[in-house]
Symmetry: C3
Subunit: 153 residues, 3 copies
């Protein structure tokens, strides 16, 4: 695999987290391919082959709708996010990637807490303007969270 | 942008965190250009355009002075740091970078706690001995911290 | 140093963490060279030159034995791990690397907590099937942990 591919994947992951943290959700949506899937599954369910997802969007339109709803809900749960994405593993000539993440949230009093950890499993596709996310599976370690769907993970 | 630039920027960020964690502050200062700026601003203030910085050094001499003061203060607040710097975004042909970070501190009882999270926004310049930091803006998520200026962030 | 080396080292680190997190300990063991050393040392001891290691394996056979024992013990301490490995520093033409890490554990109630932070200091060697770990020194920031040896770090 070429090194260039690696760097492009690192960039895409970094952008993914940074755009959520900056609340730039339109730009964030642009990271997804026209035909895409986005789901959040508790790791335990996934390991046991149970289908139950905490969030399941099987098209970009559904994902857009969902994000719009979250932004509305966020007016009542004001916080900021910070994603720390660790070193990723890259497969399939740069078209699949797994990356561990930790998500921190800071409340209006300025206190920061770990919100959740998990693993991104992404399928990518090359597009005219660089790599896009075709399928994002978020395996969530933490399911004892108080306010799960405050922002996308 | 060339991949080499990316790797050089990754290295600089890694070195930045590692040198603080190892308490090698002289080497850490050497990462900055002769003419440099270093500031810590609560993210909320920054987003609202408020100028108030938690720390503001507009020259390397001021930064050196400040670090010396922190080291003195640290004799009364003994702890160790650990920076985890997440995947960064690189702009401007490798001369600007944004990276999320989490800083953990461990006290003398060996207990580790999250101290703060935030985002580095760095302007770099090429020098004879590699990249140097010309302007470091640290957007701090966490401002409800008990002992903010124990070490540089 | 070539960029390719960097990427190979990033991959090895990512794989190291991911294989523990996925409880794939046989594959994890395969990351080590035939002749290898693995040790966990509290950072404070290391800084003072004290020899006491929390775990010390000076051959792969000992490491394999140790891992087998941990897996047995884990039946009574059911949890999952998540390693977040931050940007690393690479030395010696890609044959030495230092990387900060944070390890989170999630219990059966789905609650995630920081378990420990520290620094990996690895000596690598090139092999037929890529880089292998010859010597892994884990400097552990956190030693006030309740159940230290639940899984390898």
């Amino acid at each position: 695999m070429s090194t260039t591919n690696h760097v492009a994947v690192y960039e895409l992951l970094a952008e993914y987290g940074a755009l959520i943290d900056a609340a730039k959700f339109d730009e964030w949506l642009d990271l997804f391919a026209e035909e895409c899937r986005y789901q959040i599954v508790p790791r335990e369910n996934y390991d046991r082959g149970l289908p139950a997802a905490l969030m399941f969007c099987d098209s970009r339109a559904v994902l857009e709708d969902r994000i719009r709803a979250l932004r509305e809900a966020n007016k009542y749960n004001i916080h900021t996010d910070r994603h720390i994405i660790g070193l990723p593993r890259i497969f399939d000539d740069g078209l699949a990637v797994e990356a561990p993440f930790a998500l921190y949230q800071t409340d209006q009093e300025g206190e920061t807490r770990l919100f959740a950890t998990g693993l991104y499993q992404d399928q990518l596709e090359p597009g005219e303007h660089g790599l896009k996310i075709r399928d994002k599976l978020i395996l969530l370690d933490t399911f004892a969270v108080s306010s799960l769907l405050a922002t996308p993970l």
